[in-house]
Symmetry: C4
Subunit: 225 residues, 4 copies
């Protein structure tokens, strides 16, 4: 019962993309050792491609990626998938518009998560990318759907593609894996900047009307079309 036809091609392309995108996590210092991963939905199929568990970033290849169903069970691949496969699978299963999920323990974002404190929206870049503050999700143990459910429930109440899971780390989503990686990069960047700003005073929150206006513009005008 292998993967065939059009799904085959999509899986091969996503194996290459998911493998390569981990280089963005190391480039921006969001991960150490093997602690972070990228997952991509196979569009139109109840499948996802994810990093294998505990494999160093230097050793990642398209072939080493693992294909799972949307309950995190291995469909193709000789490796054990990331222990975050269940969480990513829950997100894909529940939110049909999400095509990519990224998990990191990036330093500044995780520091906010350790205190259970959302990052307030005090920078235009946050309004652009997150449409407001970055919310905090519940404390949840690994091993069942708790983390995935915590991520999804928190995403529903926010425009942010990033959630700070309490005392744990960051989960980000996007229409595809690259967008979720971008959200992870931006999340750490603004978590760091706002942390540093607050070390010597209290930055003023942006006015909601400005947040809305910036968010709207960035989502619709920025970039190449």
């Amino acid at each position: 019962m292998g993967i065939a036809g059009e799904a085959r091609e999509a899986v091969e392309a996503l194996r290459r993309e998911v493998s390569a995108l981990h280089a963005e996590l190391t480039r921006y210092g969001l991960v150490v050792w093997t602690a972070g991963n990228v997952a991509a939905r196979v569009p139109g199929h109840d499948l996802m491609v994810i990093k294998p568990s505990g494999v160093p970033y230097d050793e990642l290849t398209p072939d080493a990626m693992v294909v799972c169903d949307l309950h995190g069970r291995v469909v193709e691949g000789e490796r054990v998938p990331s222990s975050d496969a269940a969480a990513a699978a829950y997100v894909f299963r529940t939110l049909p518009d999400v095509g990519g999920v990224v998990h990191t323990h990036s330093t500044y974002a995780t520091a906010w998560a350790a205190r259970g404190e959302p990052v307030p929206c005090v920078l235009t870049m946050m309004a652009d990318e997150f449409g407001g503050g970055i919310p905090v999700g519940p404390f949840a143990l690994i091993g069942d759907d708790s983390i995935g459910r915590g991520v999804v429930d928190t995403l529903r109440d926010s425009r942010s593609p990033a959630v700070l899971m309490r005392q744990h780390g960051v989960f980000t989503v996007g229409p595809d894996a690259r967008a979720a990686v971008k959200a992870a990069v931006m999340c750490e960047d603004v978590a760091r900047t706002v942390h540093i700003a607050r070390q010597l005073g209290e930055p003023t929150p942006l006015e909601p009307k400005h947040v809305d206006s910036l968010y709207d513009r960035y989502q619709n005008v920025y970039g190449q079309h």
Copy 2:
């Protein structure tokens, strides 16, 4: 109505220079993902060369740069220009001595901007490069001349080639693009050092006569001539 003759050559040279200078922004960690850009005036013409919007730094080439007029309208190039094209154009249009404009959200400088606090002149390196503190410009929304006007108005009251735009990020200027990039690098460097100094006490401001003497010397004696 293409660009011809001597302007042609200048544009080609600036496409190469502007494209290459972005590597200094990534080298010094002033930008993440696609969030920052360099613009250069085409000397003697109402034209500028600027980064395309939302294109990763790894993919920048001279050909990918966009040529705009000094109202930010595309004159040559197949990409959408940086969303900061209007701001850069306003600066070039208003300040004839400025040949380069750089925009970043570099961490420490943006942290000062988030609090709306100027960086006080407590280091000889600041006197050398900035001739005093680094000033804060107004909060301004993207989309018209507001940001450009805020930058220009703030620059007029200061010797600093850098402005911290409130709750946004950094704009720097220079006689050419390379000088504006240098100002962006130095701005983040001193914003970081002064931030860290202030975490454990209050550094003494330099005396104005020392600031003047250092600024004068650095602007006239330092470097190769």
Copy 3:
């Protein structure tokens, strides 16, 4: 009285491994200049392989590594071994399950050590890797068994593979050298994250039952098997 037979092969393999693992210390910024080292036990023999003293990381080769007995005396090699050879030897001599010892002065971990303060367990990643907080060992001078004894005595009271030696730096252990390097990388990562979290508030400690559950799972389920 050279090293022969099966020990010969093991030593050659460990010379290569120990030499190469130092690249992880520089990659993650745990060491500057020559200040940090990796040591590996030669399994089944009272021997260990360790970095030479004061040699830059760029110049390390398998041949430059030094083989010592478990009292830190040179058995093979033309260089003086690391001044931490006595400490590593004491650990190997005393704890038969330890196959690797790493020493660094990584910044954040050493900052906790400078205050003599253990890193509290406030992150799931700490529960996973350290099974609780990271403990502080005594102040000890170099030159005899004091450092080794301080490391071993502190390790006995904890599940942590890392010890913060007071006003000195970090020692980590593992079943092999790679595991000890991983512990050093993770130690700095969580020391940094928890430091930054505490700069703006007090993170809540994880509940002991959650720590136990996470530790158990990570040690037995994570990774490839």
Copy 4:
């Protein structure tokens, strides 16, 4: 009146060494743009080799180095020497055992300098390398012997090879240029670690007898002989 014979060879070797050593300043992030330099005495001659002023580190070559006399006047080379040539020359002229001088504005060390606060000796690594705390020198303007005199006067009262020049940056010395570079690297490393330690409490100073014992051992036993 060129440089001939044995001085010729020494100068050529030092041109290569001084040029190459700047790569350690960039590797450890001690300098940005062109803001820092290495100088080496030509042993047995009243000459020194120093970086040219305002030249990017990427463009340094042995040929680009400048040879000056010990009053900072150019003896050989087509470039203007570093504006710190006068300070380095003063140090070489006054302290016959010094063979290398390095100047940086490395972030954490300069932050201590901005407050005019010495780095207290709270780490064994500081006792090893600096034999105590890192002292602060006076505020001095560039342009005559003031900086050099400030450095020398401060070095005389201390075992430290590093001086934090008030509101300016770091000067380090050593028996040769490489040792001065090492001191600059270690100075920033301990300035950073002690800064971070103090953010969350007050580390205890080492006892003077321990400082003496560690310093003595490190200066005489550490490394290859």
